[in-house]
Assembly symmetry: C2
Homo-oligomer: 257 residues x 2
């Protein structure tokens, strides 16, 4: 038995909705069927944290016991902090796979850039760990993850076997449907948020603002994540952390002095 | 006079070190020589915030008066929040130019991804505003920004005139030297942080961790920002917010189902 266990891949699970969110609980359950799972996740919701790291304050790691037996780690920092701490202070090395999510809400298109879920996966890529972020297009606490189970496991198994392309991770989004049509490899749609702010007054008559807005997709490409999701497919976008706009370099040569 | 003033470009200035940091004070002074300046910046340091936005708590904007006359806005949120609030609640439209910084510390290479300074510029690009992030390779409060003045103004003037390539912003890093050799257009070097954590115990004997680490650059390319900076040049990298690894799409077609 011991020898058999040793062969199991080590899978690091994190998220941005916090360690007790239904999305991560579901993902942990799935990953335990294919590997030895280590959980290091934020102790509170960290949605919209992007690639933030904690540098001005110290970080805490708390051990928590689940179901009276399994140990997990909750972290006071951001999703990226969780990955860094897991590698440096819990695993003392790299897992075979990093999965982040399942996020409650879309991280397709421009949402990617604000996403703590995806930033954990991108940090994994930076550290050369095969990494996947999973999100479902359902914000609700009782979102139904089950229709995607088979696909999530299939993607995780293939990545464990083949890895991911160099310096990338995968952004996987799941449509909200009981009948998923399949999986499409996509590019990120060029969509954006038309922001607005809900302006209110506190009991002391001082103004405050809540961010709100509408998602606007003017990208009609059928090779985009938005198209796939709208048509009942899971979208997978390979995401890179080289943000250089290589194609734009010749256009700005006139700035050289 | 009124007519003349109307022709001045509107320049939005923000940063991540907070509204009272010397870097932004210097940048404001420079930008006032070429435009009508509107300042909306964080009310406290926001370094390492990446592309974080504030969604779970409300935001505050405070008007503050500088030198007994000019009005500026300090914001309780992240650098990206500052840009969104400036456009939606202060300018009620887009400025002609957005400048972020001058950051105290490098945002070259992989630092870009953690940078609040650069995320403000990237948010500008998403909103189709010509945007530039400026950083100097000097963390000290009394960093000497003056040697770069001429170059900063030259870059800002050229961007006001010609814009930036579509869906990009500029990441400008300034070497710490009295004699800047010139400006190089670069790609982001493939470097990374070898993280470590300083492990301590609080007065109640509970562990806490401070992030620390060493910067490791294995990218020897002479077309990189790290090369330019090491050799006394200002580096400019065009940065995009499409994170799709387009070249990797064919490699993962086997994940389709």
């Amino acid at each position: 038995m011991k020898t058999k266990n040793k062969k199991k891949p080590v899978i690091l699970v994190t998220n941005d909705d916090g360690i007790m969110a239904p999305g991560i609980r579901h993902l942990i359950k799935l990953m335990r069927t294919i590997g030895d799972v280590v959980v290091v996740a934020p102790d509170k919701p960290q949605s919209g944290m992007g690639h933030a790291i904690t540098i001005a304050t110290p970080l805490r790691l708390e051990r928590i016991v689940i179901d009276g037996k399994r140990m997990e780690y909750s972290c006071s920092g951001t999703p990226v902090d969780c990955v860094k701490l897991a590698v440096n202070k819990i695993l003392f090395g790299k897992p075979d796979l990093l999965v982040s999510g399942i996020n409650h809400g879309s991280n397709a298109s421009i949402n990617l850039i604000y996403s703590g879920t995806m930033s954990a996966a991108v940090e994994g890529a930076i550290e050369n760990i095969p990494s996947i972020g999973f999100s479902i297009l359902d914000y609700l606490f009782d979102a139904d993850f089950a229709p995607a189970d088979m696909h999530i496991l299939s993607i995780a198994r293939k990545v464990l076997k083949n890895g991911v392309p160099e310096r990338t991770c995968l952004n996987v989004n799941i449509p909200m449907t009981k009948k998923i049509k399949g999986i499409k490899i996509c590019r990120q749609a060029f969509a954006s948020w038309a922001d607005s702010y809900d302006e209110r007054k506190d009991p002391h008559h001082k103004k405050y603002y809540w961010l709100t807005g509408d998602f606007v997709n003017n990208d009609k490409g059928k090779d985009t994540d938005e198209w796939a999701l709208k048509n009942g497919y899971i979208s997978i976008v390979p995401v890179q952390y080289d943000f250089t706009a290589h194609q734009a370099i010749p256009q700005i040569k006139n700035l050289e002095e």
